[in-house]
């Protein structure tokens, strides 16, 4: 290194480490958005974020977590408008972790979340830098952990877990259709098996007569009670899903096909399970894949077993009581001070930041529940080309 006006030069050794290059996201695939993902190296991740945000007010503060590993965590926020209390709270939680080591963003999420009620996630992890940047500009704080290709977004509320980064890339008609589909898929993941068992055991009058005969006929030769049948199939599905993750990639998809189709068909032919139950389990599984956030989807998959048991025990009474407890739990959670069920409960004016998206030119405000210092993010007439023609034209 040569410095002007000095008659000496410096010989500096710059060591580098081998690292994975920037790749496409594996778990958050979009059609129209960018195809960059975070990597394990924190400097690369912060540089991607800086390149996307491209503003001097993006502050990245480094905090070391873990007495032995001293894992670097980068706290990222836009100084201009992010709520200072939120920033202070995030830094406070990170600075007050008395642990030896931190290896992943997943571990950090568990250490800093407000409560662990029912395993409901209160922070979101993303491998997409564009998604992280979008949330930064909405007043959230992102924490990047060295060694993990994920950024943690905080706070995160219920509607965030059902939103995808693709939504803002599409016209609101299409993205709202997809969002409604995701809500339906969440209900199906959580409740479909429980409702099936409740209807067939207690509330058969709901089914049209022909459908009821069809279901009863298909169950005629099944030797197991319906609860055993449904638990058997649900566990089998979870086993196949878990096995698919562990199997080497060349034969991974094959295992999925073999497990799902062949075993299911064989089970029906052997009279162990009824065909209608295969359909129920398949729809539940497919619905669970439609949920964008992995942790939230896992939580719903986990809790469907509780609803299966409640539906078996008490039919719709059990399902309703389970729903009551579940809704109460959701309503009791706060994510860094923001109620989890905002903007539905408590009722707040989301100013275009509700679950259903308004047209992009109407998204003038940042979410009011973030209490940002600059609530407005675009002018009321943002498409000036459309409404303000130059003089003479």
């Amino acid at each position: 290194m040569f410095i002007d006006t000095l008659d000496q030069a410096f010989d500096i050794e710059v060591k580098g480490f081998k690292q994975r290059s920037i790749d496409t996201p594996n778990n958050e695939v979009v059609i129209k958005g960018p195809n960059e993902a975070f990597v394990e190296n924190i400097r690369t991740n912060t540089s991607i974020l800086r390149r996307i945000v491209n503003n001097e007010n993006l502050i990245i503060e480094n905090i070391e977590v873990g007495k032995i590993t001293k894992t670097k965590c980068a706290v990222c926020y836009i100084q201009d408008f992010t709520n200072q209390d939120l920033i202070n709270e995030v830094k406070y939680r990170l600075n007050n972790l008395d642990i030896d080591s931190l290896f992943s963003a997943g571990e950090l999420e568990q250490f800093i979340c407000d409560s662990n009620i029912f395993g409901i996630p209160q922070t979101m992890a993303t491998e997409r830098p564009d998604k992280a940047a979008k949330y930064l500009l909405k007043g959230r704080v992102i924490v990047i952990v060295n060694g993990t290709p994920y950024g943690i977004i905080m706070p995160s509320i219920l509607i965030d877990f059902l939103s995808s980064s693709e939504d803002t890339n599409l016209k609101p008609n299409f993205s709202n259709f997809l969002r409604i589909l995701r809500v339906i898929s969440s209900f199906l993941t959580l409740l479909l098996p429980g409702l099936y068992i409740a209807v067939t055991s207690f509330h058969q009058e709901i089914l049209p007569t022909s459908l009821m005969f069809s279901i009863l006929g298909s169950r005629e030769n099944v030797p197991f009670p319906i609860i055993v049948e449904i638990l058997l199939m649900e566990f089998s599905f979870e086993l196949i899903r878990e096995a698919g993750l562990r199997v080497p990639s060349p034969i991974g998809p094959t295992i999925g096909i073999v497990g799902a189709l062949v075993l299911g068909q064989a089970a029906v032919s052997a009279g162990i399970v009824s065909p209608i139950l295969i359909i129920i389990v398949a729809i539940t599984g497919i619905a669970s894949f439609a949920i964008p956030d992995f942790t939230f989807g896992f939580h719903l998959r986990y809790f469907r077993f509780a609803f299966i048991l409640l539906g078996f025990m008490a039919g719709f009474l059990g399902i309703s009581i389970g729903l009551f407890i579940y809704i109460s739990a959701l309503c009791s959670i706060h994510s860094f001070g923001v109620p989890f069920t905002t903007p539905f409960a408590p009722v707040t004016d989301s100013k275009g930041n509700g679950y259903l998206l308004s047209p992009i030119w109407k998204r003038e405000y940042r979410p009011p529940y973030m209490s940002t210092e600059k609530p407005k993010e675009q002018d009321s007439i943002s498409m000036k080309w459309k409404f303000f023609k130059p003089f003479g034209k």
């Binding site: 509330h203 039919g315 719709f316 309703s320 809704i327 009791s332 109620p339 409960a345």
Partner: protein, 367 residues
Amino acid sequence: MSKSKIGTVEAIMIILTIIVAHTILSLPKNILTSMKSASILNLIYVSIIVVALGYLIYRLLKNFPGLDIVDISELIGGKVFKNIIGTIFMVYFVISASMLLRNFSESLKVIYYPMTDIFFIVAFFIIPVCYANRLDFNATSKTNLIVVPVVLVAIVVLFATNMKQFSLQKMFPIFGEGVVNTFFLGLSNISAFGGIVYLYFLPPLLKEPEKMKKITLISIGITALYLILSVATLLFIFSFFITTDEITPLYNATRYIELGDFFQRLESVFLIIWILAFACYLSTISRFSVSVFKKITNVDNSKPLIDIFGLLILGLSLVPKNYAISQSFENTIYPHLVIAVAFFLGIGLLVIANLKRRKESRHEKIY
């Protein structure tokens, strides 16, 4: 109660939980039994009176910002009087909850669980309510906020989908059994607006206490609309002889819903919604019982009380030997209890407190 405050819409939904719970059971049947074809007219008339009473309660409470009825009773007669009034309200909440719980559980037993002991059905409600009450008060108010609008929509759907079964002639004669019966004896139907008792406990809980008037009027208005829709549905579908014999007449009305050939017999879907609403009602009322007890005994930690009150409600609900006894309590004694506590006692205390304050301020002016 928790130190966290609730918003206007949440406060309205808390008041609506009582009417929702009561309407599922025998309230519409009682109104139809007494008023016959004049039920709707009577409800409109009673609603106007309750709106006036609600406004009176708001005006009387306005002079005691941030205080609930138990605190106001302390201003009237000291700590002993406060304890007496607090105990009355607490007993009222517990008895209402246990009685309605028993009746609702019995109706579920008759419809879906004839072989199940009533204890298990009642316990199935109490256990999750005890769990929910361990969470913050905001969790309960937000749960009400999510569930109650669904119930309100359900009654509109019930009304709309049953319209082809309606026989509007059942509304006539419009004065039913006479003007005296409709407008004087029918005044007892103000017991349908039992949710008004929550108004006395809302002021310290509100984020925006200046919106108390809006909360009062909107909640009474929605209660009236809900009642009118429920009663109208039954009035126009059934004849009085059938209606008066039904356990849960509104449930029977849902059995007539037909949407084409595929969607028929959707009563179980409504049951999910009503069970949710009933659980919300139980959670709210037991929370208020615990908070009143905490206030009169100055207990620091109220969490252990939740289970005790849960057990108390469970035990009291199992006291009646059979459904007939608990139903007769709901039909005969409960309406008078509501009128005595929610209207006479509550408004009486507020009037006395206001008069006392006026007298004290006059003395201060003189001296």
